[in-house]
Structures are given as structure tokens and as C-alpha cells.
Assembly symmetry: C2
Homo-oligomer: 393 residues x 2
């Protein structure tokens, strides 16, 4: 298997986009290509992660359209969809194209323009990934599944509403240092939990989840340029190796899992990624986890192996996962505050980590970060992709 490196990274500021889906993707693809210092080299393939083009934006074959807008023909082009983990899946496809020898240089972009529809339709759209016969038909949405999951987690592991709010406060604080984050707003425990106004500032969404426990609906795109390690060395850019990608699936319906608080696919995906990278959780200096809901950051920090099961909230409370802690989690602001354009998210997690590993993360730089980890959580945990990146000195 050939080694693969990331040689270019860029993203748009997440939020509301006024351009078309394809143009929105160009807005990160072009700077990512520039960032790679390719000279007159051309990409062999383009992989685009997108979930809602067909339904929300009435645009299919988005990858072919992107090739056209950037004049990248005759590059191969495909769109990959894996729910909210589409981004990492697209990176995996780009990785495999290079690792197999079918390509030397691949552009991987993720993009979503979800605010083209109202929040109710966006929520219904995302819910189309749930089980149609035993979940969707009964009105299940992702926030409702996350609410049930959170309640169970609180009862079983002593996680409190304060712990959930701490995730939001931390990630919004980080986002203030990230010019690409959708929500740039200071959030305090007082404002979203303790003050008499909290019930208005932070209304209930799906008990016990409140608004500040849920990611916003965002537009945005993110792009990476992947190259064979041999080619990457010639480009003269700092080298960030894709050291390991792991993926695992689980039952579609959450109710069919023996223990719904057990995120088996996260554990399996992380183990595979670490195994391929020949690293362990203790070797990681910075992580981006899929905090579409606050509880997920806590749960994933345990299942990925950073903390024992049930101890993630305690680590959060002690500041271990803060920007200045031992293992900063979601320095970008996470999905919570950076935003969650579903197709873009997995790519954007890796864009942040590339910047961190290159020392280009500005005010939110994690000092000395050399090994990084990302967890991209598809479905409600039924298709998870974990990625380990390593800076090569």
C-alpha cells in the first residue's frame, strides 16, 4: 500500500452561503489547490462528499460539475455519500485511489448547502438516514435520537446538564478563535443554564437537549489535496501523513443495539485507525470529534480510547479537553460552534487538524501537536470513520 499525505487544505467560513452548491465547493477547492503548490501538476481524480444535492439543491453529479468549474478534466470524479460521515468517506476514497496506484494526486472536497431549505425540512432531510420502517416512520429525527441517548447516558454515567453545557461553552470559546466558524458568540454557563433567562436563551429541543446542545444548520465547504508520499515530498509543503483510516458499521436502528449507550462502531473504527497508524490514543495531541450534540463529544472521547467509559465528563470538567489541556478536543469549535454542513464536516475536521499539525492554527494552536485524531459519526453511530494524521518532521 502506498503512503498518502495531505498537501493542501482549505475551507469556507461556515454559515449561510449565497452562491450555488457547486460554487460553494469551488470556494474551498481553489484555495486548497493553491495551498498544495502544485505548479503545473494536475489532479488525477476528484472526490466530492455531499448528502443533500439531489433533494435540497436539485443538483446531482456534483463532482463532475466541480471538475468543469475548475477545468480539471479529464480527471476522474465521483460523489460519495455516507450521511454525516460523507466527508471522511470521501477522504478514504481519495486515499484508496492513491494507495492503490490508480492516482497520484486527488482533490477531496465536501460541501453542503442546507440553508437552501428551512430548518424543519433540513431536519427531515437528515432524518432520511434513519431506519425507514422502525424509526423514520414514527417521526424520529436526529435530535430526538440524541435526546434519548443523552438521557440514558446521564442516568448510567452520572453525566449532568452542566457537563453538556461545558462542552458548548468550551467549543464556542474555541470558535471565537476560529475565523471559519459559523457561530462566533461567547457562551457562559450562567447564560445557557443558570440565569432566569436560560430557558429563553437556550430552549428545550429534545429533552434533555437544549438549543446549545445541538449544532446549527450550516452551509459550507472544505477541501483537501491528497498526494502519494513520494509526490508530496517533491512539493515542498509540510507533510501531514494519513497514517490510518478505520471504519465500522453498526445496526441501522438504534433500538436494536444491545446497549444503546455503547457506540461500538466508534470503538471499532478508532481501533482500526490506531492499528493502521501504529499509534495509541495516548499518542494523540489534538482531536476533532463529531459533536453534533454535546453528549457525542463526551461519548466519543471515551469510545475512541482517550478516557475510560463513563469518565469523559470528568475529564472535560477538569479541563483536560480544553485548548490548554492535555488533550484539546475540538479546537475548531467543533460541529457545535463551527457548524455542520453535513457533507463538508468530515473534510473540515481534517482541514483543522492539518492546520494544527502544521502550526497554522493561529490563536487556537495546540502547541507541539504532531499526531491528530478525527471521529466522523455517520447515521446515529451506524457508520463511523476515524482518521489518524501524523506530521512528518
Amino acid at each position: 500500500m502506498r503512503d498518502v499525505a495531505i498537501v493542501g487544505a482549505a475551507m469556507t467560513r461556515f454559515g449561510r452561503a449565497e452562491v450555488s452548491l457547486v460554487d460553494l465547493i469551488c470556494l474551498s477547492a481553489l484555495p486548497a489547490l493553491q495551498d498544495a503548490h502544485l505548479g503545473d501538476r494536475r489532479v488525477d481524480a476528484v472526490v466530492v462528499a455531499n448528502m443533500g444535492g439531489a433533494r435540497i439543491n436539485r443538483q446531482t453529479a456534483v463532482a463532475s460539475a466541480l471538475v468543469d468549474r475548475l477545468s480539471l478534466y479529464p480527471a476522474a470524479a465521483e460523489t460519495v455519500e455516507n450521511g454525516p460521515a460523507s466527508g471522511s468517506s470521501a477522504v478514504k476514497m481519495g486515499f484508496q485511489a492513491i494507495a492503490s496506484g490508480m492516482a497520484d494526486l486527488v482533490l477531496v472536497s465536501g460541501g453542503e448547502k442546507m440553508r437552501a431549505v428551512d430548518n424543519l425540512e433540513a431536519t427531515d432531510f437528515v432524518a432520511s438516514l434513519t431506519h425507514p420502517q422502525v424509526e423514520y416512520i414514527y417521526g424520529v429525527t436526529l435530535p430526538s435520537l440524541a435526546g434519548l441517548f443523552t438521557r440514558l447516558y446521564m442516568e448510567r454515567y452520572g453525566v449532568t446538564a452542566e457537563h453538556l453545557a461545558m462542552v458548548a461553552v468550551k467549543n464556542h470559546e474555541n470558535a471565537l478563535k476560529n475565523p471559519f466558524a459559523h457561530i462566533q458568540q461567547r457562551v457562559t454557563m450562567e447564560g445557557i443554564l443558570f440565569s432566569p433567562d436560560a430557558v429563553v436563551n437556550n430552549p428545550l429541543v429534545a429533552d434533555p437537549l437544549r438549543m446549545f446542545d445541538c449544532c446549527p444548520v450550516s452551509d459550507g465547504s472544505a477541501s483537501l489535496v491528497l498526494a502519494s508520499l513520494d509526490l508530496a515530498r517533491k512539493l515542498g509543503r509540510p507533510i501531514v501523513k494519513v497514517a490510518g483510516i478505520g471504519q465500522a458499521t453498526d445496526t441501522h436502528a438504534v433500538q436494536e443495539r444491545k446497549d444503546p449507550t455503547d457506540l461500538l462502531a466508534v470503538r471499532q473504527a478508532a481501533e482500526k485507525a490506531f492499528g493502521r497508524a501504529k499509534l495509541a490514543p495516548k499518542d494523540i495531541h489534538v482531536a476533532e470529534l463529531h459533536d453534533a450534540f454535546t453528549i457525542l463529544e463526551i461519548a466519543q472521547s471515551e469510545e475512541a480510547g482517550f478516557f475510560p467509559k463513563g469518565k469523559g465528563a470528568k475529564a472535560l470538567e477538569k479541563g483536560t479537553t480544553s485548548l490548554t489541556g492535555k488533550l484539546p478536543i475540538n479546537p475548531s469549535g467543533g460541529l457545535k460552534a463551527k457548524g455542520h454542513p453535513v457533507g463538508a464536516t468530515g473534510v473540515a475536521q481534517l482541514v483543522e487538524l492539518v492546520w494544527q499539525l502544521r502550526g497554522e492554527a493561529g490563536e487556537r494552536q495546540v502547541a507541539g501537536a504532531k499526531n491528530a485524531f478525527a471521529c466522523n459519526f455517520g447515521g446515529f453511530g451506524n457508520n463511523v470513520v476515524a482518521t489518524v494524521l501524523v506530521r512528518e518532521d
Copy 2:
């Protein structure tokens, strides 16, 4: 790069499906897995080709759902979309997973349930792959683009309405020998062209294209099991090697091509596939071409290198491409008569070719077929995937 073989193949009869999209895909995936004689071996990854799930069937993350229905977890799973070439793109992704060493055994399924909506919406849906600003907005559909393309081709290369009808007559005749074909109806030149009833039997769709020049709107699924060549040898099944995959993109808008009758991406994709397979067009014994419209079979037979440009219609007229001719094209009945469930088509082309190379094609068997070629035509020729399969003796 590791060699890859196809060890299992199956498809549903195309037509109208009464089951859900995911169940429809199971109906080919299960027999394909059985066909591969896997014993207790499990697939490492699942790739699903689908274009319309999100919009037509309100089902996203179809690959994860398929893993669940077949209890294939923790296998990796992704959905791949590349317009009408989605099927071959999914096969390419499965190929790369194995070639890279990330997987040994991959299930590749393509499925589409287009008849869940009426023909007008299905046509509008497929048109969402055209250029939004310079094509779609002006009411362009795939039949209208094909009509313009056909007129130009007729003027330039002396192709006649009779030639177009000959493609339909040939492919419908082949489909009568294919129990998996959607339309099982004998079609004659008299009936669709010369008789006074022809104008009723075969109404104009987009001048000069008539109904029998256009593929039907179909539901259906097709599946392949891919294995590393080493593993394939252990399974004891006849071995069909994926000898070469080539892909090329072109301008999104047809109007931007210097010569719209020049299907550059078909030529480039075929050249790459032949180059990787170390074979030439003259070595091919049977081909499946993407005859969504009759003219496309003629044009692709030229661009793929089987006949000189402008000579495809003559070869057809002489019977060269008939089932008993020197190079049978579309023994399955092609998209024209077998049907065209967009996500399934590219996979189904290869299912037919696997059957042909194994000598399992029944009444439509091409004697002694050892090398086969498929052209899967995405967009209006702006993303084309060509595949060469070789039977290993």
C-alpha cells in the same frame, strides 16, 4: 497494485419494483454473495451506486442500510453517485479498496427505484445532472440533448432513422433472450418505422428521436462481489479479472465542446481501460455500451475504438454487432430494452459481461467470449467509465 477479480454476480429483473429501495438492492446483493461461494468469509466493504435515493425515495445512507439488512457489520459502507455512470464508479471504488490492500472482499451493488415518481419527475430528476445555469434552466432534459446530438450525427455521418431503429430492433431481440430485461417485446422495422401505425406505435419524443430510440424508466438492482485475485483463486469460482478501468471527464455543458459529436471522454476512458488491460479494441469479444438513446450505441462503438468514426452505423447494418456477429454489442438488450435504473446500470452491464465470460448467458451466449468491454456514460458524456474484463483460464 493488487489484482482484482469478480467472484459473484446477480441482478433483479428490471421493471417496476414493489419493494423499498434498500430491499430492492438486497434482492441482487444476496444472490451475488451466494454466487461467490464465500463460505464463512465476510465482506470488508460495501459500495452502493445510487442517484435518486435522497430525492425520489427519501432514503439516504443507503449503503449503511444495506449493511444492516444483510448483517454485514462492521463492514465499511459508502454510497457513490456519478449520474448514470454511478454503477461503474462504485465498481471502481470497490476495485481501489482491494487494489490498495484496504479490503480483500467487497460487495458492490447498484440500485434505483425511479418509478416511485411519474415519468415527468423522473426525467426532471435525471436532468438535475445537467449544467444548472446554461442547460437545466432552459428546460434541457437528457432526451432533448440526445435529440440535438442525434440530428448533428445524422447530418455529419449519414446515420439515418433506419440505423437508429436497427439498434432498437437488435437490442429488443436480444432482450427476448434475457429473463432480466425490463421490456420483453419483439420490435420490427415495419412496426416502429415503416407501417402507417408507426407514428402511433413509436411517437416522437425529441426530434429525431422516437419512443423506441429511448430507454424506459426502470426500477432494478445489480450486484457484484469483488475479491483480491489471491482470494478469488481460493473460492473455486470461475475467475473474471477486472483487467482495466478507465475514466474521463469533459465539459459539463455540451454547448461548450468544440465538436458536440466528439465524445472525447468515451475515447479517453476507453484508451485508459485498454491501456491498463494491455488489450486493444480488436481483442474484445463482447461489449455492453450505454444505449440510453439509440445513437449512443453507434457513437460509443466508434469512440471506444471498435469502428472508425462515422462507420458504426455501417457495422450495425452489416450485422457485425448482432448476437451472431463479429462483435456482439448489448447482448443483454442494453439500456434500450433491459432498462436503465440509473444507479444499477453500470453494475448490471458488468453482471451481463461476467455471465458472458463464464458461459452462463443462456440463449444469448456469445460463443467463446474471453475479453469484454463496458462503457458507462455519465451526464451527457461528461463523466465516462470504461471497464475491460478478462476471463482467466
